[in-house]
Symmetry: D2
Subunit: 335 residues, 4 copies
């Protein structure tokens, strides 16, 4: 039983606290948040202590590992402290919005063998994973194309955009990671188009984007397309398609249930994909905990390491340069 | 090229005339209808003669075979005349609404080897046939259950009911035949429930039914369920399910196209099944012509013979007795 | 927080213990099993006491309600004891295999207002419930037909059959309840066919059935078909179809994930429906706990009461008489 | 009844001859092919004359319009001759593989009002058209993204590649046209990646590609992705997705029938999409004839004019420049 402390008690931190508490392989040891009442509330709900500082968490003998769900600009610091304290860390994405900070973090933790796992939960979605497993098992022959559709169900509030770091670093970064996972090879080249179609005024003001299409290519020539939208009114749209020489695999959307309607105006109509990530990726969040606990228990590397977090950010940076220069950008230019 | 004359130039006769005219294996030789202007109209559309009597059709040296699409009470007569004239006949279902008349017809044509095919077109539907072929090929192991859903898209006019002979003889008779085709064995027992839910007043007045559920069992124990409705607002609903020891096969509905809608209130919504039988069974009607022409050309028995028409009517009669006596009825009671 | 004791620590009891423990509205108070080691194992896993007798459970001041998951022939006794002790009871189906025993139990608890809920969990399945809610909301107009497909993924062991009470009392009883729930009216008439197709030798020996088809009719004429099989190799098959004057609703099967395969021999292929009831009805089992806790907290009648358990058994008895006499049986004959 | 002559009696010409012959609005007047025996064979099959030269066709008083289905390098000549002869022309795509030749043709026919329709048949596919109609009707609000999947079922023979003009001019050109049709605006910018993954040796030798991914953007910012493959083993894969501010529309693949298989290893498996374009776009080919005949009869412009053919080729040329220079290319650079 891995005793985990949660750092950060906002929306995602609360979800992780509940998951850690009910997961058969983990126990919730304590929680911490800069905003003490948040930590106390979560602590009370689960009957665990609220730490008075992050350092207390890292120093605690009751804590085997930490789960970082705090605001983004604390992630790299917490990773460094966790490594210094010898505590394995499961850190929500991204490591940082600034590639230089990520590289500095990498330098500081170099040589450590403290397990680090980045929260790219989509790799653990049962459908996505089944597709990759079938692909790796050779079911579709040589993989040729990957198409990732990733659309959020609606625009977040303005306050979210102000700290999110831009569409490609905040949202697409999941898809960049998923693309690497599915492609089985590093993308070497990126071309990106990004737009302001949903709320052009806000996006102009914040110099952000709400819609994007991206192409990538690996060294062996595999092709990948990602499309993004901040607002799919029909629900959270998360699809992966793998095209190969001997077949195709599609991991499609999950519906809340399988009831379908038939009327004088339509047939076979399902409910909207009402889930957002907490609902759609419920099983994935639990499975990433399973994988984290198992990696630690068995002394193996985690499935999604620090370098995976760094690589995804490099792709986002390459995509931003592609947008700026309207050309394909080689990922090595970001190194 | 089989030269076919059409007897009966109503809605279904016109469809058959067009099919015969464009089918690569058949040619439209002439048409006849008791109502001469109907025949003349169809004849003119296809540039063929309108016969002035049915006897002229049977006597004509230009006619290799006849397709009977006239009103039901002429079918048995025309079959007898066709056999007497040595002309193969493709006769729309049913042979007659009266089992005694069917049996008399059978007696009169006994010993003849003139090919007779009954228009149970659903046997020729590509999906239904693929299901049966897969079943016969052993794909689902031993067949155990057959479920047939058969619902018309809307109530026909009162005038139709007045001559149709009752729900089970008019509409379910297709499903009785399809059940026999799918079961691969004769049903030996029938239980039927029939209701008046769509237009109770009209059904009461005409002593007819608009909704039904039926169970049947074969000698070896295979089970079959048929459900019927005169009014499925979402379109013509025609499904077959075959359950076996090693799997299941479902022949589902056909949509006009594969466009699906996604909105804030629904996902994956297809258009209604707008087809009625002429649209849904377009390919089936052509395939039954192919089979008819091929049987004649190759001197083989037709795939759906006179006895198939008689058997389906026996099942309808057994079902009516079941309704009257509220018990399972053995089909042999009808013999 | 409702403190619940579990009576019976077999497979289903363990599942309930885990559900009660993680449900936000309930707490696991203690467990009991005639076979003490089973109770101790479950007790240890959840850190709760194992009672040394059922009476201790009913007498305990730490227990607000009991969940009966023991062998069937203890159910009625436990219900009577729970009522005597004033403890609300959630009892797995069936109340008893013997209608006389159920009626005696009913007589003994008559006048009590202790809440009793029978574990007909399918009523709480999200898809089935969405279908019923849409139907009740008038979305499909007047309900005319209900079709329930209910097939287990594989034959249980011989030992299971020996105590299960026969296909219709053990398995179909869920569908009888679901039919009542969906029909919105009591079935007044039942016709049943049952067969021995999967393991005829075993079924003959035990005088049991492995395959069935049933028709029912309500007073207003609504029709219902249930089909059952003990062995669907493609997985647990649980479908409900509601046909109405203004549309149709289908609650279809749930897949483990939404990955589909495309190859040279097939397209759009999903994984088998691998779930059995614990997997398929995971959400339903939790939702029935929610409903039970809410009914008690709010002092309302439970959604699925003792009479629902009795009515379902009456339908099973009517179906057995129908099989014996090969006729439609009025349910009132069972009263 | 529009009397149409077919120029070119190869595979696609034969299909058009059959379509023209059975279409209710058209009649097959005569056929011509440089290879006289081909023309004679088709002529005999339909009972029409085979012209001894293309000029005879253009001069004939029996011919109201011509359908050009000959080899590509004759298309522009025939269009010019048809215009000179005042005969409306339905010309298979592309107009020519050389944009300069297309521009020269445009200059020569400038000012003529002889109707010209280019054979971009996909615009007439019922599903694709239903999607566009729903989009134009405002059903999904503002259109934001278009995704076109277009994969052939298998590699054509080497001889085909030698004259086809390259993947983007031969195959993608259909998708470029479909993109323009769906986007409702001209693409102004194109980025393309093309690969050699299916038969790298052959593609290297011929300097051609077998796999591609393309991005396009319109002036208002709408985004479009096209992906292509020469070899989808699961069949001809033709999908269109329209994403808008208020919903999404998907025109999915058409199956040969709706039979689905369920077994111990899979569920809901359909047959492969076995159709290639003649099968998949059967209805579309007929509908383009309907539109052509109607435009002529009613004196309206055709729905897919010469400029549409030129624009699609410009997009292909922009895509080739993008591949060469690895940057986004403005379409106006091609002017």
């Amino acid at each position: 039983m891995l005793r985990i402390a949660i750092l950060g008690c906002g929306r995602i931190g609360r979800m992780h606290a509940a998951n850690v508490a009910r997961h058969p392989d983990t126990a919730l040891a304590m929680v911490y948040d800069m905003h003490a009442p948040s930590a106390e509330e979560v602590a009370a709900a689960h009957g665990v202590p609220a730490a008075s500082s992050a350092d207390d968490v890292f120093a605690s003998g009751e804590v085997d590992a930490v789960l970082v769900a705090s605001v983004t600009d604390t992630h790299a610091d917490y990773i460094e402290k966790a490594v210094a304290a010898g505590k394995p860390v499961l850190c929500e994405k991204p490591i940082d919005l600034d590639l230089a900070r990520v590289n500095a973090c990498a330098a500081r933790i170099a040589g450590s063998d403290v397990p680090i796992q980045i929260g790219f939960n989509r790799r653990f979605d049962p459908g996505h994973r089944a597709a990759r497993d079938a692909c790796l098992a050779g079911e579709i022959g040589d993989l040729q194309q990957v198409i990732i559709t990733s659309r959020d169900p609606g625009m977040p509030p303005r306050s979210y955009y102000e700290v999110a770091g831009g569409l490609l670093r905040d949202m697409t970064i999941h898809d960049f990671d998923l693309a690497r996972y599915m492609l089985g090879e590093e993308p070497v080249e990126v071309f990106a188009m990004a737009g302001r179609m949903i709320d052009p005024a806000l996006m102009d003001e914040l110099d952000d984007h709400d819609t994007a299409m991206i192409l990538m290519r690996t060294a062996s020539g595999r092709q990948c397309h990602i499309n993004n939208s901040r607002s799919a009114v029909y629900g959270y749209d998360q699809r992966v398609e793998l095209m190969g020489s001997n077949g195709m695999l599609i991991s499609d959307n999950r519906k809340p249930h399988e009831m379908r309607r038939f009327s004088a105006s339509l047939s076979e109509a399902a409910s909207p994909y009402e889930f957002f990530f907490i609902e759609r990726y419920t099983e994935a969040f639990m499975a990433e905990l399973t994988a984290f606990a198992a990696a630690i228990a068995e002394g193996r590397p985690t499935e999604v390491g620090f370098e995976d977090g760094r690589r995804a950010l490099m792709l986002a940076e390459a995509a931003y340069r592609s947008i700026a220069e309207n050309r394909a950008v080689r990922v090595e230019e970001m190194a």
